[in-house]
Symmetry: C3
Subunit: 461 residues, 3 copies
């Protein structure tokens, strides 16, 4: 049995975040929300996820309903099973002198994720296999988990570990690992068509600002922005635990994922690295090309990387059975910055400027997918007479017509029902908006008709 | 109702141009014909076109019949309508002192094309919207038209315009714009097959040597050359007004354009720029590849540009409904040389050398299309024994056989009914003629059979 | 009528070559065998071929049966006919002074291959058209044949030719050209499947170490190595005269050549040039890609050249009717080294090191083809849970998992029944063995199933 509950926040986020209007300073708004999301102990299940979704609901404001799903432990999901729910009372390591040496209340990262409950007394040497540190980064606490093998442990700085005196230690891990449920949030914003644009972000990482409070915050603001405007696609935003969350969602929505025309996994959007798009497994999906256009339009350094089956939830969406047109957007990639999965991924590590830049590129990518269509020229034999339709300059002359009219001519020439506007812009070497505006003008005088299928990606399945 | 009249000139062009034999100096012959074609007032309809076609017929000589078609004003043609016929009696602008300031009798470019008849008196300021000049080229007269919006005007040098005194001017434009017909010329030279090679050039531009007296002259000489020799393809040469002419021809021949296997639009063949080929919309039609080979063989600088829906009549032939394998050949492209569409496109601007060079490249392009075929090896299992067929050297030795025999081996290996000789030459890295000669030798001993369809391009539709 | 005889050598080759175990020093073993193969007069038919095959049989040892086929003269084979059998008693040219000037007993190359019997007396000038030398290499004897045009002649050094005195010469060519048979050897080593790997080498060249005693020797040692181990493919090794031999074999096996999934023609494996692979006509056959991987893995200079219809027996296997996935492996290519087809292609020209290197690259190419398969992920929806199958590390952490697990993830992501392991390794940028080992591990827990067809190349026909 699965519970779902609609948890529309009663008010929007504090400060300038009331209503559905966009904040005046999106970067600051996002950074503030990252700060709100940071504190709670959080894992793939448990109260931390629910607390997180309540923060998201408040930030969404009253007009954007977030549905919270609870999927019981033990539910078979694809090749996996929903795990037991993990909750943390307290977790402390007490030294030979009776003083607390490590306390998860100070930093959720101190506790190995999914640690089983333990009350034990042991020597430092017995304890060592349960203590995790980073010798090469002696002042940072690493992030470690053991979801599917029962274990327990503490993470601490290597400097701290090295200073621990010999003697007897008291382990007091007061956790529960019991049948409960996996919790995720979902927002559906209906559009003109049932074709879907999926935006998904993982909610399971504790106490790290970039990975992935930045993703949760950005998805929240995208939902507000999308809710405020007209939508051709139906937008679906997921706030789910990594891996098991996307697997659970895919298992529960297996029959309808075919509606997904475009998708984006959001991770690590606030660090100072260049914006980075990772292509879908298909490599040439409309969202892959739209993201490339959006990044090129910034005229700043950026990266587009090929799909690989390593990373975040794109691994599941792009598994060969689903093969969905889902790419990933972020900045620094997992593992390539030293702060990755450590206590150094903190509020200083993410900046309002980077968050705002990521948000803008994502909005532009979405806008391009919204505008992209596959049209058919209704007068394909010869050029139609644009002049009598008011689309052509009166006095036939030399060259400056080109800037104005090339968009019209290219769209007429290539809109044969097989090429999207992205295809046409690429072939013509024209800005996407020029081509899209030309198409709107031509459609306005019935020189274009939409082809059977919806957006360009429709045949990509 | 449409009139057609066969207007075979009774004698060939002057000088060395009698009979169908090629002139000894094609560049000089072409330049002389450009000079003959230059003077008359000419537009998309009217007596100027008929005068032009009479000049063409004379230059063709008695053995190459030119059919002149007249299509009545008001005839619906694709998305357009054949316009009223425009004729010019005289067109003068008379200054405040009663003297003629601008007179179309001096240069047809002085009159805005398709100017409506006007008799009016007005101040210079009232007149200004009807006066066109080129501020950045103060000594040149621009070429301007207003076919589909009723208007009138004069074109003059900017220096002249700047010197016009204030005062009252007399406009005397004695034109007629009445129901009549659109006139075009057509030559059909039947070949062994009904597959067609289309050559087309526009006849509507007045008083400019390169654009497009050079095209008209070159098409004329190509017709003479093609008429004199054997032809595999049926050749069709069109002398038509730009845009409306090709639209009219396409509308009248809509059911048979599928026979067109190759096509070339000829424009601007006499200037000093490098020869330039613009690919068909298909981009890899046989004519596109043949032109590339012909240009490469010159071992001189040249350009091959991708299709774009801007330019000359290739816009119509390559509209998506027709999508014919028609490229464009010329030298300087429209708009890229300053003399384009001005009075500076004169007899000095075109040279006999450039005209002769363009003519030679066109003949070679046509020759390659004529020779290109798609053969099938009749003994495809193992190599056939060339020795007993007299195609192989007697003493098996080392290396110099390669130059002789590689053509035979490549054709045998690749002639599987799907690859044309152009394909094979490209894959083999051999000259086209080497491959074509090898194919002839192999066909001569029945080691090759022609595939069902005609030329290589037959399946390209 | 065709005779076949199984001629299993009673003992292996001398020295360390007994049994089927590989020799300790393959390069030395191969060089010794080249020396054994060098002496006899040899051509496309005759006793020389039989002597050669007896040497091969001895070197194969008792456990690798070589079948010797005799195909009667006059048998029609594809477009050819099996020629008369040529045998040589003696061949001498006697000078004006009665002394022997040239004697084929000194070097088989002295006699033009397939020389007809001659007893004649003639002047030096009458003789000249029958004397072949290399003016640019005055100390080398060229190799010349005249298989299909009756002729006779002597080959000698240019220095020798220049020193011949005028006068009457005695020609004593004691050859027979009579109905007999064409002889070739064949080894079949059955594998788990009937899909075949063809290895072929020509046996017709006399007295030249690289071309092609090196090929015969290498094929012999490959047969020993393959016979000693497990085999997925059925291996077929051919020792055949060039051109007419492969044509004869193809004619006799026309109905079953479709079983050939991979093939290699072996020529010139012992010279000091870089190893060179020539692609099959298909260009992307599995063997083409496997050879490229094997060569890249050497991390030493090598060449991969595109198919051309000139060369050795790949000409026949890759004729368009057969179009088999057969490439060619060797070092220096025919005609590109001066020693090619001369007496300078001797035992000094080939080295044990080059022979051993060629042998190692061939074994690796074969091994890759043996391991390459096209698998299908049996759990393609989402990632399967590798952890519970013991394929995943227990503690989820940072980066060093990549080296271990990327192979598993890439195979799962791409094994969709259309991509071979070679495809996956190439796309993933991983070593072939990493991908193959990952596939073995996944198949071991039933996460992969083999697709219908056998090896990757199965659909390439």
């Amino acid at each position: 049995m699965t519970e779902s509950a609609s948890v529309a926040g009663t008010t929007g986020h504090a400060g300038d975040r009331d209503g559905t209007a966009l904040p005046a300073d999106p970067g600051r708004w996002l950074h503030d929300l990252v700060a709100d999301l940071l504190p709670p102990m959080r894992s793939i299940t448990g109260e931390g996820v629910r607390t997180t979704l309540r923060t998201v609901a408040r930030a969404l404001g009253p007009d954007v309903p977030l549905t919270v799903h609870e999927v019981p432990s033990g539910t078979p999901v694809l090749d996996w099973t929903v795990p037991r729910e993990w909750n943390v009372g307290s977790a402390r390591l007490i030294g030979p002198d009776g003083k607390t040496v490590v306390d998860a209340a100070d930093n959720p990262l101190h506790l190995l994720g999914y640690s089983t409950p333990v009350r034990a007394r042991m020597t430092l040497d017995e304890l060592r296999p349960h203590l995790f540190s980073m010798p090469d980064r002696p002042d940072w606490v690493p992030y470690r988990t053991s979801y599917y093998n029962e274990n327990w442990g503490f993470c601490l700085t290597d400097r701290h570990l090295g200073a621990l005196p010999a003697g007897e230690y008291e382990v007091e891990i007061d956790t529960t690992l019991t049948d409960g449920s996996l919790t995720y949030g979902e927002i559906v914003l209906p559009g003109e068509t049932s074709d879907e644009f999926l935006i998904t972000t993982h909610t399971c990482h504790p106490a790290m600002a970039n990975d992935n409070c930045s993703g949760i915050a950005t998805a929240t603001l995208l939902a507000r922005a999308l809710a405020a405007g007209p939508r051709r696609h139906t937008f679906r935003l997921l706030f789910i635990p990594g891996t098991i969350g996307s697997i659970t969602w895919l298992a529960r929505n297996r029959d309808t994922v075919g509606r997904i025309r475009h998708g984006l996994v959001l991770t690590g959007l606030g660090d100072r690295s260049d914006p980075t798009y990772k292509r879908s497994r298909r490599g040439d999906a409309a969202v892959d090309r739209a993201a490339a256009v959006a990044l090129a339009e910034t005229e700043r350094p950026h990266r587009i990387v090929e799909f690989s089956p390593y990373g975040y939830d794109e691994r599941q969406f792009c598994s060969p059975g689903f093969d969905l047109p889902v790419g990933r957007f972020g900045r620094g990639q997992h593992g390539e910055y030293p702060q990755y999965h450590t206590s150094a991924d903190d509020l200083e590590f993410v900046t309002p400027e980077s968050l705002a830049d990521s948000f803008a590129i994502l909005r532009r990518t979405i806008e391009i997918c919204e505008r992209d269509r596959t049209w058919r020229n209704t007068a394909p034999y010869g050029e139609p007479q644009l002049g009598r339709r008011g689309l052509y300059r009166a006095i036939g002359a030399t060259m400056n017509r080109q800037a104005i009219e090339m968009g019209l001519l290219w769209v007429l020439n290539l809109a044969d029902g097989t090429r999207s506007l992205l295809d046409i812009a690429e072939r013509a070497g024209l800005p996407f908006d020029t081509v899209a505006e030309a198409a709107d003008a031509l459609a306005g005088v019935d020189l274009l008709a939409e082809t059977g299928a919806g957006p360009g990606g429709a045949t990509g399945g």
